[in-house]
Symmetry: C2
Subunit: 339 residues, 2 copies
């Protein structure tokens, strides 16, 4: 900057004042500085600004894994929103048991806040949140229900599954196959609770009305798991008539396998996906699914985090639930007579 000031023929103080839009400067001086910036490509050093007390205007994002389309959408939308508010995003992809290093790194960058997205080992996440609390770093947890001490934004998966199950029940289905809906995640527990609630309204018990063959086909990729599960279901003497999948890939894999066995969708069976990805419209028939309302979730997340960052919010344990959107398409239909 000293060099730049010399180039313009002004003192460093004067240049600084122009850069910060302070008053009491001649227009000619201001113009000269701006011109010189264009000529030289000079920009103030953001690190120096931060040392002087300016916030880093950086938000750290911790994700468990980058490659699912939904995770990617969330990240992308999040970045867009933060960019609009002039925040830089730094992403850390967390490998199991390596979250400490990642968060420490973000801290060394003096990020203004941290957002966690996705499934983390619960006790590990809680440990991180504790550290952040001690440091006074604002933070927010997206899509990891069951952390009461933190501010969270979560899709209301209970509600989502109530709607899906209500829909299928209203079409006459009474026996349900679950595709990939298992595992030690709160999100799974929530989904099952939703299914259970809807069934209960019809006097049905979840253990009797639903069936899961996940134990036969551990997850490799979702699409393949869907196919394998469908193959196993198709061999049952009296298979379910409606299938609820953990996501769209699983649903489409299953649908294609069922179709390969000569079953028609939705005439013979109904299938529901989850996430409402673009592949829903590439499937035949179009896949009924549940939209996560990612824009809304991310807007809520950014809003809650920036409120903390900018010191306008001091509450803890703010649990924000986002309502899902059930999207009925052509893969669900009335239950066959005698189904």
């Amino acid at each position: 900057m000293a060099e730049f000031a010399r180039y313009v023929g002004l003192s460093r103080s004067a240049v600084s004042r122009v850069l910060n839009g302070q008053t009491g400067l001649r227009q000619a001086t201001i113009d000269r500085v701006h011109e010189a910036m264009k000529e030289t490509g000079f920009t103030v050093n953001a690190h120096a600004l931060h040392l002087r007390g300016k916030p880093s205007s950086t938000i750290g994002v911790c994700m468990e894994n980058l490659l699912t389309p939904t995770a990617v959408s969330k990240l992308s939308i999040l970045q867009d929103l933060l960019r609009l508010k002039d925040y830089v995003t730094v992403i850390e992809v967390i490998k199991p048991a390596a979250s400490h290093r990642a968060v420490q790194h973000l801290h060394s960058l003096r990020v203004d806040g941290i957002i966690f997205i996705g499934h983390f080992e619960k006790s590990e996440l809680e440990q991180r949140l504790l550290e952040l609390k001690r440091q006074g770093t604002p933070h927010l947890v997206v899509d990891h229900p069951g952390i009461p001490s933190a501010n969270t934004v979560t899709l209301d998966r209970v509600k989502a599954m109530v709607e899906v199950t209500d829909h299928l029940l209203s079409l006459g289905h009474r026996r349900f196959g679950l595709l990939g809906v298992s595992g030690p995640f709160q999100t799974v527990t929530d989904r099952l609770e939703g299914i259970e609630r809807a069934l209960a309204k019809h006097g049905l018990a979840i253990a009797q009305a639903t069936q899961s063959l996940d134990y036969l086909h551990p997850l490799t990729d979702h699409f393949t798991q869907g196919r394998l599960l469908a193959e196993s279901f198709s061999k049952l003497p009296r298979p379910p008539t409606a299938y609820i999948a953990v996501n769209d890939e699983t649903a489409i894999g299953a649908m294609q396998e069922f179709q390969a066995h000569g079953w028609q969708v939705p005439k013979d069976i109904s299938i529901v996906g989850f996430n409402n990805q673009s592949i829903c419209l590439m499937a035949r028939p179009w896949l009924t699914s549940v939209d996560q309302q990612i824009e809304k979730s991310m807007a809520a997340a950014v809003d809650a985090l920036l409120q903390q960052v900018e010191g306008r919010l001091f509450k803890r344990g703010l649990q924000r639930k986002i309502a899902p959107l059930f999207v009925e398409r052509a893969s669900t239909g009335p239950c066959r007579k005698g189904g």
Copy 2:
């Protein structure tokens, strides 16, 4: 840090020496410092380090758009590779004519280097590269052929299309429909050149052997464009027997539309996609496609950029071509007799 030093009961100099692993310190002192770091969560301020001369260890990435699956994979793999080398990635999504601000921002963060990925308006990109050259910021351009003054890494699309066309020619096809392969991009020019070369080996002229109906259906989303194009092709008195699509979505959209018209793939027609995304395996039949070898491209990009960053490379105009991988699946087959 002063506060932390007081907490440990050491001088700032001593703490600093422990943190930087310098010699001449008792093990007891070293342990005490590390313990205190765990207790307090203290981390050195990366900005202060940078001011003192340490590189920011940050790489800026400029992308034209984040939401295509291929772009997302590239970004994700790039970040992984940079992370392994202890670099932070900062992403700028560039809106047309807004690249100046983005690059300036990266410069203010004093990034060690910048990678551009994707289609940019050529003169605008060249302008940015010129500025970076003047500033001495290392940079690299991925997937934007035709910038001779910069170091670039590009998929060899000419070769890709030679292989695709050779394959279809060897199956007996002589008339080709192009799906979405148009527009003022060097990547398109390269593809057409590849097709032309392969055709020339069989004495065929591209203007006669190929046909494009893109002008009838401007791009909205690729899948839909594919469907619309297929519909138009299906109405021709003598439609092509082989179709080359700009990407997998377009190919699958077209394939479904052709199938809806009662044409069988690959018995009646052959279709080739591009990018080898996971949806290739969700299509029926499985889609023949071209793999961009993204891991290789990104590894080459990171390698070339970090060589510049670390001062081991001074050449300009290094044009690295990545060989594509042709992936034959079930959507291509022998040309019908009399086709």
